[in-house]
């Protein structure tokens, strides 16, 4: 009872902090830097975008803060889904689908399998003990405001998203022309990773 309460209080405190920070940021910092004429009422698309972005952040927070590893996996699922949705917003259809297929369909399922198949997973409740909340907040405070400031202050080269058009062919072309070198070399990465995984997974070496 007492523990639950203190946990709740902690979360509430955290949420309050983040809310305060965001509120301060949006009301005090942003208006100074945004061009005056931009205060248009939000459109539906914007709302959906913010929802997806919020889901991504919330999922990531769930991965980090949950003490139960299965819940962490679910959080990861949400974060990856949110990212896929953001790709859709950028008219990157291939990326969005690849994200779904590879990360959610492959990687995440594999992680879940591994978690489920590991013995006595229920007893593992240690996640982030060594670095307390204070330390985490300190790191957060050191890095996050700055990156947000940069993101907001800097005039980005803006290009309105084009109409949804298939990008797969273009990506293929790019891979085999402009980005041929990294694309081909990535195969060595995969090979090395495969061999490395096998090395780590095999039994201990003994003289044969």
């Amino acid at each position: 009872m007492n523990r639950t309460f203190s946990k709740l209080a902690l979360w509430a405190f955290l949420a309050l902090l983040v809310a305060l920070f965001l509120g301060y940021f949006i009301t005090r910092v942003l208006p100074d830097y945004l061009p005056a004429g931009r205060a248009v009422p939000p459109r539906l698309g914007d709302l959906v975008f913010y929802a997806c972005a919020a889901a991504t952040v919330a999922g990531a927070a769930g991965v980090a803060f949950s003490r139960n590893i299965v819940w962490s996996c679910i959080g990861l699922l949400i974060a990856l889904l949110g990212t896929a949705a953001l790709y859709v917003f950028l008219s990157a259809d291939f990326l969005a689908v690849a994200q779904l297929l590879v990360y959610i369909g492959g990687v995440l399922v594999l992680i879940l399998f591994a978690v489920m198949l590991t013995n006595r997973i229920g007893e593992v409740n240690v996640s982030n003990q060594s670095l307390g909340l204070g330390g985490g907040l300190a790191v957060f405070a050191a890095v996050a405001p700055l990156l947000m400031l940069v993101a907001v202050l800097v005039p980005w080269p803006v290009r309105p998203p084009g109409p949804m058009a298939p990008t797969t062919a273009r990506i293929g072309d790019e891979f085999l022309s402009t980005w041929l070198l990294p694309f081909e070399v990535a195969s060595v990465v995969l090979l090395a990773t495969l061999v490395g995984a096998v090395v780590m997974a095999r039994k201990e070496l003994k003289a044969d």
């Binding site: 940069v150 980005w179 070198l181 990294p182 060595v188 090395a192 780590m200 201990e204 070496l205 044969d208």
Partner: protein, 494 residues
């Protein structure tokens, strides 16, 4: 649409040879009929030598639309890496054989790592650099986990992997910010600065993150924390290869990136970049040397010493910011890397030869204690002599390679007006001599403990040590041929 010519492909021949060598070594394990694996190390040396020779003969030029550059600089890096790989392979053969753990995959992973390092020397695009770093890193993570006897190796590999992933994330995030600011990942475009006025903050943030990711790889303070644990836990030959090869490759790309960053942020003197780099160099020199003093484990001491050397190298990279001394500073850095490769691999090889044979579960806490070296001059005079040469070189005592290397770098730092840092460098290397010479004292002046084993040696190890000693001495006495190569290499980097 850019087309790929045969010249593009040919320029990458060293990388391809190393990667193909890896595949060949993998396959050799498949077709193995007897339990004899002695030839695998020689095969590795052969591939390394071929790659090094190919790099020598490569036609200089930018390839793949500027994403990679084959020039004297990349050739120097490839040759140094190949030399390190060949030495490390010979050392590994003896070490692994004594523990019944020699397999083709080990050499395959080493070769893959070397191909990544070689590519890193050529990379002039942040994305290519990232992919190359991943090849190098993933292979070394696996190599660090090669022996899973006792807790330390597994822990080391795990730590290296987690923190390495963290640094990769920093690197990738930084790359994306740089792309946002400049619209390109090519270093030549980055050097032109941000696309739009006011974008310099974004570019700086991106470059800082990229530099932080690279600082992790070179083990610069405060991104060094993984180094002692990982270097101590990894199998000793792997540590040797990591210390030499990863450092060489990472410094190559760090130098290219920092030069682009200097150009992008306008001049060396008045920007924050050199200051940050100067602080990093200062911290790295101080922390590396001060931490090495109380270490009783020779292997851990060498890990801290590797951090300290990263500090001196950073000093050289920092000095390269001033165009007037750029060639001098970069050639100093390259020469330093070559000399460090020979000295560090040699030192780790001796440490590896002396550690206990490692039965499963057998991991005495003092496996690398100074006491194990006591009286080595009596038991194994040649081994003790080789270790003395390496220690002197690491300490920077003439006439070894380390002295010339330190002199070149410090002189460049003085030329670039970093007088205070040069003074700190000289002072800390004086401190360094204390813990390096302590090893010599133990070998020559302490009586051996009862029943101390003589250690493992084999003909291959002797060859490797002889080559390393010869390299250290030749680089120290007749440094001119290599130094002129380094100068030629440094001259092409703008």
């Amino acid at each position: 649409m850019p087309t790929v010519s045969s010249q593009d492909v040919l320029a990458l021949a060293p990388v391809a040879i190393l990667a193909l060598g890896g595949i060949a070594l993998l396959l050799s394990e498949v077709f193995l009929t007897s339990g004899k694996r002695g030839y695998q190390a020689f095969l590795t040396v052969l591939f390394a030598a071929t790659a090094g020779l190919t790099a020598f003969g490569a036609t200089p030029g930018k390839v793949f639309a500027g994403q990679a550059t084959a020039d004297a600089f990349s050739a120097f890096v490839t040759i140094t890496v190949s030399f390190g790989l060949a030495l490390a392979a010979l050392v590994s053969a003896s070490w692994l054989d004594a523990r019944g753990a020699e397999r083709g995959e080990f050499y395959a992973l080493s070769l893959f790592a070397a191909s990544g390092m070689s590519l890193l020397g050529m990379a002039s695009d942040l994305l290519v650099a990232f992919v190359a770093i991943e090849i190098m890193s993933l292979s070394t993570y696996a190599l660090a986990a090669w022996m899973r006897r006792g807790k330390k190796p597994a822990e080391a590999a795990f730590k290296y992997f987690i923190l390495g992933a963290f640094s990769s994330a920093l690197l990738l995030y930084g790359t994306s910010l740089v792309f946002g600011a400049t619209g390109s990942t090519l270093l030549s475009d980055v050097a032109r600065g941000p696309l739009q006025a006011g974008g310099s903050a974004l570019l700086s943030a991106g470059l800082v993150l990229v530099a932080a990711g690279l600082a992790f790889k070179v083990a610069a303070v405060p991104f060094h924390v993984w180094t002692p644990d990982v270097y101590e836990g990894a199998p000793t030959p792997v540590t040797a290869f990591m210390a030499a090869g990863v450092k060489t490759a990472a410094f190559a790309i760090l130098a290219r990136t920092v030069l682009a960053a200097y150009a992008a942020t306008g001049g060396a003197a008045d920007s924050a970049f050199p200051r940050v780099l100067a602080v990093l160099a200062l911290l790295t020199m101080l922390v590396g040397n001060l931490f090495a003093v109380p270490q009783r484990s020779v292997k851990r001491m060498l890990a801290y010493s590797s951090i300290a050397h990263a500090g001196y190298l950073l000093l050289g990279v920092l000095a390269a910011g001033l165009p007037a001394v750029r060639e001098r500073a970069l050639s100093g850095v390259l020469f330093y890397l070559a000399s460090y490769t020979a000295s560090a691999i040699g030192a780790f090889a001796v440490v590896g030869a002396l550690e206990s044979n490692g039965q499963p579960g057998d991991e005495p806490a003092d496996a690398w204690d100074l006491e194990r070296l006591a009286g080595l001059s009596r038991r194994r005079p040649l081994l003790a002599f080789a270790m003395t040469v390496f220690m002197l070189s690491l300490a920077g005592v003439p006439p070894t390679a380390g002295f010339v290397a330190k002199l070149l770098v410090f002189q460049a730092a003085v030329g670039a007006q970093y007088l205070a840092l040069a003074v700190v460098g000289v002072l800390t290397s004086a401190l360094g001599a204390y813990y390096y010479l302590r090893v010599v004292v133990y070998m020559y002046m302490r009586p051996a403990a009862e029943g101390e084993p003589a250690g493992v040696t084999s003909p291959v190890l002797s060859v490797a040590l002889a080559v390393a000693v010869a390299a250290v001495v030749v680089l120290g006495i007749g440094s001119e041929p290599v130094a002129s190569l380094a100068r030629a290499a440094a001259a092409v980097v703008r």
